[in-house]
Structure formats: C-alpha cells, structure tokens
C-alpha cells in the first residue's frame, strides 16, 4: 500500500474530504432529513466559491467566508421560495435556481470565468502566519512544513460546524425540520408550518454548500465557473457511502458518518488517480463510485435473501421430501 500511497496524498485527500463534507452535510439536510431533491447544489457551490474568491481578492479573507455563507442562505431562500410560495416542484425549483446562478456567478467573478488568488491572504496563510509568529520553530516545522496546518484548520472548522448542526437539530426548530421530512401528515396535524421549516432547512443547506465552495476557493487559490459541475452527484455518493457504512443512529453519529463518507470518497478518487487513471476518465470513475455506493445496500440485501433461500432449499432437499 505504501508504494502506491504516500502520506501527502492521503493528507490532501482528507483535506478535500473535510472541505467537501460541508456540501455533503448540506445534502444530508435537504435530501435525508427534508426528503427534498435539491439540485441547486452545483450552482450554489460555485456561488460560494465566486463570492469568497472576489472578497478574498479584495483582501478580506474572513469576511469572504461569511459572504459565501450569506450568498448560500440567499440561494437556499430563493429555491425554497419557489417551492413553498410559488408552487414549483422541488426538483424544478433547484434546476431553475441552478441555471440562474450560472449568470450570477459569472457576474460575481467580474464576468470572467476564473479568478486567481495566488498572491492573496486566505485563512490558510493567516493560520500559517499565526503559527509562525506565536509558536516556536519546532511547531512551525511540525505543522507548516509538513502541511498539517491546513488539515487541522479544515478539520476544526468542519467539526465545529458538525457539532453546531447536531445541536441545532435537537432544538424545537431543528426537530420541526426533521419531522417535516419524516411525516407530512403529522406535521399538518401539529402546529408546524411546513413552508417555514422547508425554508429554514434549505437556507441552512445552501449556507453550508456555499461555505464549502468558499473554503475550497481559498484552499486551491483559484475559482472556476465550472467548479461546481457534478457536485450534487459527488455529494450524494459521499452521503450514501457514509450512511451505508456508519449506518443510522443518533444525529451526531449520522453527521460523523457523513463526514467520514466524504473523506472516504476523496480517498477512493485519490487511489484512482494514483493508479494512473487518465484525468479525462475521472468523471466516469466518479459516476461508477456513485452507482456502486447507491447500489451496494440493495445488492447486500438481495445477497442476504438469496443466501437464506439457498440454505432453506438445501435443508428441504436434505429433509428428503419423498
């Protein structure tokens, strides 16, 4: 394994896994909890990326992330407005917003299709400078030279957001959002306004998607208009990998599962790159991973059934039906 795999590849796979896990958490809210197929993810991710990149270029790396967050809330709000107040089907609402966002994203990036942030300050350079100024040389060597500070920073961010999210889902509003996706009839009969809970849910989901895009912009020091393409499929794959492997349980465990799924997905992609899958085939590999991840639980169930059937049949034959 070590011959195929260097520590730095693993490290960057997990870094990416953590960053993208915010999108997966967003889909966890819209897809798993609210039971809504929100297809605005691609556009929303790029929106966060574009807003954060523009603000980072202007020299405000921290404001950039909050800007991305805000833009995501707006995007989620528009999607939910279309669904709950204008009667547009949820899938259609997502597609409409996604399409509209393309123009908006280009506009945010100053009508160019990519931005370069190589010379700008970002949360990563800030963390590096912080370590350099406040910690000893040993710490600098350990954290910065090996590049670990990036991983620690994104992991910290994601863990904090994950904890906040799991706390939020236990509040009155959070429980209402979960009930909305779980039992529509119950929600009608209790004092929950589903329009309200869907709006809040999609705003939170949009915020996390865009924040993920924002962090990615600073992480890879660039932003491209096509960055978000296929994001919804990838996030869905990670979500299903996480839910299949870690399983269902408490909210906190499910959230951990989602983050784990995202990291595992990035790891699989890294392996694919490492064994020299040509770059142009990567989308196909992604699609395959998604298909396998989604089909796996079903196949597993079938296999169990077939095995049971086989054992029962064998027993019957042995019993000797005369």
């Amino acid at each position: 394994m070590s011959s195929i795999f260097t520590i730095s590849i693993l490290q960057s796979a997990i870094e990416l896994g953590f960053i993208y896990s915010l999108v997966v958490l967003a889909l966890f809210i819209s897809f798993s909890i609210l039971n809504i197929a929100d297809l605005s993810t691609d556009g929303c991710f790029t929106l966060g990326c574009a807003v954060a990149a523009s603000l980072t270029l202007a020299g405000h790396p921290i404001l950039a992330l909050f800007g991305a967050l805000g833009a995501g809330v707006l995007s989620g709000f528009v999607t939910s407005f279309l669904q709950t107040r204008l009667g547009v089907e949820s899938i259609l609402a997502g597609i409409i917003v996604n399409t509209g966002l393309y123009t908006i994203n280009i506009a945010v990036m100053g009508f160019s299709s990519n931005l370069n942030l190589f010379k700008c300050d970002s949360i990563f350079t800030m963390a590096r400078d912080f370590i350099q100024e406040n910690m000893g040389e040993g710490a600098f060597d350990a954290l910065v030279t090996g590049g670990w500070y990036r991983l620690i920073l994104v992991a910290l961010l994601v863990v904090v957001i994950g904890i906040l999210l799991s706390l939020f889902l236990g509040t009155r509003l959070g429980l209402s959002i979960r009930a909305t996706g779980d039992n529509a009839a119950m929600v009608k009969a209790s004092s929950i306004n589903p329009k309200h809970t869907i709006t809040v849910g999609l705003c939170v989901s949009g915020a996390m998607t865009a924040l993920s895009g924002g962090i990615l912009a600073q992480y890879q020091k660039s932003c491209d208009i096509n960055l978000g393409t296929g994001m919804v499929t990838i996030a869905l794959a990670s979500l299903i990998i996480g839910e299949t492997l870690i399983g269902k349980g408490t909210m906190f465990r499910r959230i951990l599962g989602v983050i784990f799924g995202s990291c595992l997905y990035r790891f699989i992609v890294a392996v694919a790159i490492r064994i020299n899958v040509p770059a142009e085939c990567l989308k196909l590999v992604s699609a395959l991973i998604v298909a396998v991840a989604i089909a796996f639980p079903y196949l597993k169930k079938n296999a169990v059934f077939t095995k049971q059937k086989y054992i029962q049949m064998a027993k019957r034959r042995k019993g000797g039906v005369s």
């Binding site: 236990g170 209402s176 009839a185 119950m186």
Partner: protein
C-alpha cells in the same frame, strides 16, 4: 368551548362528483364536554373534524373555539390548541425520530411561549416524558432512544395520545383512533383516553363505530347523517339509552337504517 355555526362544505362544486359533505351543521360543545359521534360512512364525521382543524376552509358558517373565531385561521396555527388523532397510527408520529425526540417536539411546540426556536428540552423535561411513558405500562420508558418506527401500532397510538395531550389542548379530536388496533390494545388505549380526558377535563370529540362505546364513554352522543347532526343526546336521557334505542332514534330522525357494514353493535 367549541361552536360550529351553520357550517357548510361542498367538495368539487359544479362537477359530476359534487359532494355536499356538510350541510348547515350546528354543533355546540360546553367546556369539558366529551361527546361521542356515530354515523354511517360518508355522514361527514371526518369532514367535520377536518373543518375544525383547518385542513380546508368551510364555504359558509363560523367556527368558534374558546371565544375566538378561527374560521379562517391557518391550520398550523389552530393546531396549537387542537389535538387530533387519526385511525392510522402511522400518522401521528415521526418514524425515524426517537421516542424522546417525538415527545420533545410535541412538548416544545405546544409550550411555544416559553420555548423559542432554539429551545431544547432539558433533563427535567426528559424525566417527565419518561414518567408519562411509564404510566402507559407498555415498557416504552426504557426505549426512549429508539426510533418510533419500531413500535407497534398500539404503542404508537398511545404515544400520539400522550403527545397530543402533553400540554392540555383546548379541544381533542379522536377520529376512530382505536379502530385499527387489536381488541386488547384498543381497550388499553381507550382506557388511557378516558383517563386523560377525565383527569384534565379536556373538551373532546370522538368518532366511533362501536355503539356500546358511543353510549358508555363521555357525557354526550351525537349521531350524524349526510352532513348534519340527526340526534343529540346527553344527561339522564342518555343514561338509560340502549343500543337498540339509539338505532331506533337514528331511523326515526334520519329516515333510514344506520348502515351496519362497519358498525359494531355489541
């Protein structure tokens, strides 16, 4: 407590499927009244409940709850004051949320003046949930962390009843809430209903197809047919009424036999 004044509702008006579900219906419930409702299929019992909860707005008439005109109040706003149980035990609880989460939700929603959007249920309240579950004698108090989807129909219905009455509602609507349960469980849930309603003096309407139940439970019986009340009995007159009398009264007032395909006479 509850007053339905001259309410009417027609579904699919002007089409071949036109159905006059409620026709100038008048019902008035005093504080603490527990009325049972019997009537043939399509008599408008569930439609009346849906009119009260606000699943649709009535075409004509007024609905007044505790002195407040709620005729055009939105459904989710009304349900703060109204508990509603359905025949199907699946409808009242969220299957993928744990018992504790379901109860927290019901508690936090109903007591929304003291709990904001970000209110959470505390240890003390969770202990209270557990106490209430223990009263059911179903062993649910040890299964607080399990998803509700794993419970049986009777357990879910009992839980729904607890949730609907956790903060005493102004009005409790029971739409044949024991009809889908096996006899023993149905009996248990019914006992529990009686207990809670009597102890807390909740104003309650209960639809049933069991004629004995209709006379035994509560202090009043309403019979409905084609969108209005044909017979309303309470007090002494009700105390001496038998099932045969009730059927007779129905025939007398509605001009036809009570259809007996689902009616339980004994």
């Amino acid at each position: 407590m509850l007053e339905l004044k001259d309410i009417s509702k027609t579904f699919y008006p002007g089409t071949i499927n036109e159905k006059k579900a409620l026709i100038h219906l008048n019902v008035s419930l005093a504080d603490g009244d527990f009325a049972t409702i019997v009537g043939s299929n399509g008599a408008g019992k569930s439609t009346m409940f849906n009119a009260i909860t606000g699943a649709f707005y009535v075409d004509e008439g007024e609905i007044i709850l505790d002195g407040e005109d709620i005729t055009f109040k939105q459904e989710h706003r009304r349900s703060l004051d109204i508990g509603h149980l359905f025949q199907d035990p699946q409808l009242g609880t969220a299957p993928h949320m744990t018992i504790e989460e379901n109860m927290s939700l019901a508690y936090l929603r109903a007591s929304n003046k003291t709990h904001g959007f970000f209110g959470r249920s505390r240890k003390k309240e969770k202990a209270m949930f557990q106490e209430q579950l223990a009263l059911l004698n179903m062993g649910l108090e040890d299964r607080m962390k399990q998803p509700v989807g794993l419970l049986s129909g009777g357990q879910r219905q009992a839980l729904t009843l607890l949730m609907a009455t956790m903060v005493t509602p102004k009005l409790l609507l029971l739409d044949e809430h024991t009809a889908a349960l096996d006899p023993a469980t149905a009996e248990k849930v019914l006992e529990l209903t009686k207990d809670i309603v009597e102890k807390r003096k909740i104003t309650c309407l209960m639809v049933t197809h069991n004629m004995n139940q209709a006379l035994e439970l509560g202090n009043r019986t309403l019979m409905m047919d084609s969108g209005h009340v044909v017979f309303d009995v309470s007090g002494k007159e009700r105390a001496v009424l038998t099932v045969e009398d009730l059927l007779g009264k129905f025939k007398e007032n509605a001009g036809k036999q009570l259809d007996t395909d689902r009616i339980l006479l004994s």
